[in-house]
Symmetry: C2
Subunit: 180 residues, 2 copies
């Protein structure tokens, strides 16, 4: 992302290392305002109902038509748990109860951190939304592995089913690389 | 933070809900650019050396003169672990080895997420820096509880010593409120 103008005074920006800093930043030539760019956090859930999990089929680009777990950008003013539950509601109409944090992933090449929570669906109530053309519960044997939207979601699901066999779900931090 | 001007075209901004969104955003009246504001992630460590942990005494505001654990904003292009180790090096000159994630904290009223890692100091090599007027190893009995810079750091230390007595360090997500 290129920062062309100062969001404070509208002045022109330059790339330089500000005093008492050691990173190159976008700094306003007029008022000195520093426009920081930092990683964004994506929060989501693995919604469980009995022996199934809830997936949604994307109705928007990128990866329209592919299946994914409900997840989206954390907003200002909400906790990671509240954000994960809100995204799940927005994308699947399901009101989940957050169980615990399950995976964090660094996706360094797109400046994102994913935080995925295990969650339960108290009742099988869910449905399509603006963002999801279809929402369904899947048994492990029916997971559409070849049509999962994002590598980070496929990895979360793989990890989850691996841990499910052991019956324990330890929290871990992983990495998603561009080519792997 | 008020977004007065568009960082893309320099045009004036307005507050409105963009199409296919449900949050009020700063949107450019000229080019339609949406200036999103999202929570920032702070990463840090609890650096352990034998039976002691490393604290640094802040040389900068806020809380100049108070003691804290090394921590700072995650930068674009780095993993949470790398960011935590970098901040530790910058603030204490110590090269730590990250052990595992220990605590995540929501600090909703300032739009921050903290991710604190347990870490080991392979050797007692550290020292003051631009950001830290003093850096020292502390036994639990010597922790300057009345002079810890931030509530989130005090909570991390309390949690850590509580878990240390049990010998297990389960990962948890907590909340830091303005008044508590």
């Amino acid at each position: 992302m290129t920062i062309n103008f100062c969001s404070n005074c509208g002045g022109p920006m330059e790339q330089r290392i500000p005093e008492a800093d050691d990173h190159i930043r976008s700094v306003c030539k007029h008022c000195g305002f520093i426009h920081y760019l930092n990683p964004k956090t994506v929060v989501g859930t693995i919604p469980e109902y009995k022996d199934k999990i809830l997936l949604c089929r994307r109705n928007i680009e990128p990866q329209k038509g592919k299946w994914t777990l409900p997840a989206g950008y954390l907003e200002n003013g909400e906790s990671v748990q509240d954000g994960a539950a809100r995204e799940t509601l927005e994308e699947t109409l399901a009101n989940v109860k957050i169980i615990e944090p399950y995976r964090m992933f660094n996706i360094v090449h797109v400046n994102q951190i994913y935080v995925m929570f295990r969650a339960t669906l108290p009742s099988p109530e869910f449905g399509p939304t603006k963002e999801s053309m279809d929402v369904r519960l899947f048994h492990e044997k029916d997971i559409p592995w070849e049509n999962i939207a994002f590598k980070v979601i496929k990895e979360t699901l793989r990890n989850y089913y691996c841990d499910k066999k052991k019956g324990i779900y330890p929290f871990k931090v992983g990495d998603i690389h561009r080519h792997s």
